[in-house]
Symmetry: D2
Subunit: 408 residues, 4 copies
């Protein structure tokens, strides 16, 4: 390509500023660091320019360890910095809207961790600003879309291999709260986290189901529960109140005719990262489990009945999505690699002016589902969801000047 105009020397750098550096700090830093060595196709050099956090000491140490050129403590300074092209938002959900909107308004591309926001209202504002910024990439960090097995599953569905989709069955089960004595964290505070298992991990399966099936939830009825309402503080004698759900489950209908069940829990003893998605169609079925991310179980009705069976596909072939840059067949990837895929696709969206996926409209859609779950829980009734807007198929127009040239 050349992602910029033809005159002059090629664009050479894209400079990232990341806000927040906790759990996601390591994964995102590695992704930005790895994207050039892994992807020979990229005509730009990604730079880890600024890392931002509240504690000078801690963010300085993190920046040094993860390889960021400088540490900052004021996110507004990063968002507005001349030498930042991309803002990566890895903070708790209550700050996403403000930072993302500021970043877009400052002309920066934005990668925002999931869930996109804590409320539908925030998500709507974010999506509106993104829609008004056609030259900017605004992506939500539903990284699991880029686990090769998940991407491949979507490809199989899109190829018509499943016939009519009948069932979607999705759970995301963890167990780190199953012990009633596990300490309180900000993730248990509704003001900070928006919701509990629902937004933290339920959001992933809502997005994954939509991504993989291409179908959206039209209505749902839900149930949530908080098993343990008070927990010890880790740095204090007192206790903290748990104001979010410990588990959420719901029945749903999809706009393509499938029925679906969803469940998210952080009380599922023995399940560490137990995301499991099953599809049943009239012609095929599939199961994906995140604890075995390199595998896809696939069943097809094309063989004689005596020869049918769920086949365990090792999604590690050069012909599988994303795997051409990795290892020989059977040599696995882990949790880190999809972040590198995401970084790559983000960069390609920037330089090719192609749509981001998932974009802020996708993020809003997930937010509406989370909100519907909470409303259904309150009313005990089914909640209808609006039909998603048709996505424009047109190519995104790049904003002039976003890509910089070498030496600039």
């Amino acid at each position: 390509m050349g992602t910029n105009d033809d005159s002059g020397p090629p664009v050479t750098t894209l400079r990232v500023g990341m806000i927040g550096y906790a759990f996601m700090g390591q994964a995102h830093s590695a992704a930005w660091r790895d994207v050039n060595p892994v992807y020979a196709d990229l005509p730009v050099s990604v730079q880890l320019t600024a890392l931002c956090g509240r504690s000078t000491e801690m963010v300085t140490a993190a920046a040094r360890q993860y390889g960021w050129s400088r540490a900052e403590t004021d996110w507004r300074a990063v968002v507005e910095a001349e030498d930042i092209d991309i803002v990566d938002i890895s903070t708790p959900g209550d700050t996403h809207a403000e930072i993302a909107i500021a970043a877009l308004r400052a002309g920066k591309h934005v990668l925002c961790e999931k869930p996109m926001a804590n409320t539908v209202e925030e998500a709507e504002r974010m999506a509106a600003v993104a829609a008004e910024s056609p030259g900017l990439v605004a992506m939500v960090g539903f990284t699991y879309r880029r686990v090769p097995a998940v991407t491949f599953l979507r490809h199989l569905v899109q190829s018509g291999r499943f016939g009519r989709l009948r069932h979607v069955r999705a759970v995301y089960l963890q167990d780190w709260l199953a012990d009633a004595d596990a300490p309180w964290t900000w993730r248990l505070d509704k003001d900070k986290a928006g919701s509990g298992a629902l937004g933290d991990i339920g959001a992933h399966i809502v997005d994954m189901a939509a991504y993989v099936t291409g179908q959206h939830i039209t209505r749902l009825v839900a149930d949530t529960e908080t098993f343990v309402t008070e927990r010890p503080l880790s740095d204090d004698d007192g206790t903290g109140e748990v104001t979010v759900d410990d588990t959420a489950s719901f029945l749903a209908r999809l706009d393509g005719g499938a029925v679906a069940t969803f469940e998210a829990s952080r009380f599922a003893t023995g399940r560490k990262n137990g995301l499991r998605l099953e599809l049943n169609g009239s012609k095929a079925s599939a199961v994906f489990e995140l604890e075995r991310p390199n595998e896809l179980m696939f069943y097809e009705t094309d063989a004689p009945a005596a020869e049918q069976g769920f086949r365990r596909i090792l999604v590690t072939e050069k012909t599988h999505p994303y795997f051409d840059v990795w290892w020989p067949p059977g040599h696995t990837i882990g949790y880190q690699q999809p972040f590198t895929h995401q970084a790559h696709d983000f960069i390609r969206a920037v330089i090719d002016a192609t749509p981001a996926s998932p974009d802020f409209a996708d993020g809003l859609r997930v937010q509406r589902v989370l909100d519907a779950v909470q409303r259904s829980t309150e009313t005990g009734a089914w909640v209808e969801l609006p039909a998603p807007e048709a996505k424009g198929a047109t190519k995104r127009k790049p904003r002039r000047g976003v890509l910089r040239r070498k030496g600039k």
Copy 2:
């Protein structure tokens, strides 16, 4: 013959009359036939006395093949026959109530296939008559309770190994209707079958969850769907209407504090007999899958975190429930053997005057859940269920004369 001593008046035979002989005919016949050879402890001889069906020709052939002494075509004659002690009801659900009530009133012990009835009203009448017949065994054929892994799981729960139970997750998935061209059968007719996947296979997981956890559903919200509303007749050019559900799913709360999800479907491509039950407690978790009936996955939090894991217990040890009469460890049982366990326990309940499990009160409880699912689907609202009556712990008093003596 006889296995007890010769002095005095020992009981020597129990004579079975079975109504219906289709799919269940083979399994039940084998169970009555095997129960003496397998169980040396039984002081009675079980006799396959009469098999009853509508077609003289077919029932005669079936009786000959399966080893029944005579064939009958009038179930009332069997129910009232002097030489019948036990009536085994394997007909479609719409006939259960009438036959079972007649049999109990005629002083016969009754084993009734599941679901116990097609309506709550029928089930209530059956349970009432059973309650008025304390000397008679009235059992429902939820045979999976007697898969050793299931019985063992209940034992682990009852021993307190799970701590507080948080989650029950139950699905029963089959795929024999996934093909829209599969022919119509009586199982798709609401008048005959009562309901579809819900009563046929959903009933199993409702009973199993209650049996294993000891908890009962207090409220639920449900969704059902019929994907294919008309199907070709197998013996005709026309089509038959499908008046039952193809799939049913519901969220539920249990009286011990757990949240639960249930799903039954006959459209789950690739799932042949896909019953799966998962429990998550504060101290342990377990998974049982009927397609691997000899295995129980069990996770316990007692080991150091680094050593915890779901362990695959082969439930084939002499110390496992029911396995003392079978093979050395690792030598599996299949679908047939729990019917033999059921026949044994039925006989023991008769001769020891101990309670049947599951009894007609259990069957009624399942029927109420099925009914609640259908009502919730109609209204879109949560439905409350009555608390189960406390079960009398008293020993059943045998009806005089029910056991017959040799030569009588």
Copy 3:
């Protein structure tokens, strides 16, 4: 009784005499008892006529429990009894040759448990007498050939689905001797048992590999070990000497060009009945595991690389071998059912005058492999095995008078 009409000369009964009644007593008795109820095609009635053991008291109790008409203590009397058509030999290996030869000479059909003999010399004599008795069925009880998944695997190989077979990998692992304090039994006495893990369980995988692949071992090199050479007696203060192998493993070449590894052990902690057979061909691979007898893992190279995977075939379809008489798909069978298949095929061989499989020539071939393993262990060198004699494809000629008529 009988299933045919009274006119004309059809055979009506085949009367079995069984020698030995320990572990195999239950399984074989049930098979003979079930074969008529399960198989409507059989035009004869199988009768459990005589059970033979050394202890009058014990054999009488066993005969009563398992449904045999009479108990005997002299095997010669059974073998020569006028009212016995079939002799079923379930005794320890050191007695097989004498009983089987006597039975064949007395004009009886013979089903002989595996391993067929304790020495090659015995096996040769048995095979010779069987060869001289073309009207008699002489079958060896390698029952696992009749696990549907195993039979189906052979069918896939014979259909050419594997291309050139490259690898055979077979283990049979149990753990009941892993505890050094487990008591001594006759199975640890070379005089009684012939060998240890080698003959007891290794014989199964040698036969299964030959059956499934159609290839025979041409040469092998072996290693055996006895980990615990003395064990406590269960009924005494003393100890018993272990004179057999605890484990045996060998490398082998097959006459079709494949390389193979075999291993049998009773010291494999955690493996209860861990028979595992893997085939790798140029076009397909498969894995069978006896602890999951209803499953076959099958991999084929016909799909695009991205879609290949080991598929878990539930071998429970009506179109699978032997399953037409059983349950709907997904309803499993266990350890017992292949004995019923074996009884059926034995009866069919008798009445159709078709070859037995496996016959005594097969049994001899296995015996030669076991012997070669022992010789290789002694010498440390590769041992060559003779090519198997071509099997006659001609139909066995039934011996006149072997089948009896009703009332005779």
Copy 4:
């Protein structure tokens, strides 16, 4: 800080020169690049200083992509360069000895890919030079030792959890040569590669078994085969001769009393990276499979028989080896991460002057096993192996001046 002498400012950099950049280029480059960001404990900065290959164009492109400061074409220049501290050898096996010895003699630390050499003679020379260089780290790249599940398994063995080890069962199965039309590569040339499946993948299981069990092979008998002796050239009309084994298998005895079987094949259709190691001890068993690198199956006899089972441990806890630097439980690692662990441990060995593991003596031991396999195949006889020399437990003495200071 500082692990070197106390005078002066702390050491700050270790500079790596890597010879070869094919498959291993990506993995090793990423490891050297990641080691500082991932490991906060390292008091030195690792620098990717020079990458060396034969083609100027290709090595220049690789150096640019993977982030090496400069490209070289003369390995001797790299080995002797003043600004290189560590030589990483990723070339084919026939060059390892020359490069490694030159590097050690030039005072460089060496990381040498496996197998360490193509012949025992080469390996002996390498080990001898390493032994004469006590201040230098000389490590062999048996990276799988640092898969957390493997390291953890060794820990369990060393803790005595297995009791007496009875069985080791190791296979490494791939299928990239199963297609007879797959093109010829240098890996099929004995002069270049030393051996085929044996050295390429068999070496891994030989090392892993020794590492995990702490036992060494005392004798073995082997079989190898080349199924396809000629293959098409990828860049030519002709064919290339295959002069190495396609598969190798052997029976072995270990010095701690266990019996073992090993098999390596590149013809195992469907197996992509099918390394599988099983241990059976008197008190425990375990299975590790490389295609599921985050899992360890572990069976222990401490529970009541009814509760024993192979437990699937997700080796992703903070308390598992190497996982403290990674993700929350259940968030997996893949093929890349053990290279990072290896780089870390290599650096720590350099700065702490602790022994390398595996060192060149370990590599020599593996080489002797590979050689014994080839000799046994030629002679058909068992081959004895020398007992390993006891390893000195003394701390390695660092070579003065090996660590450089900032700004030097």
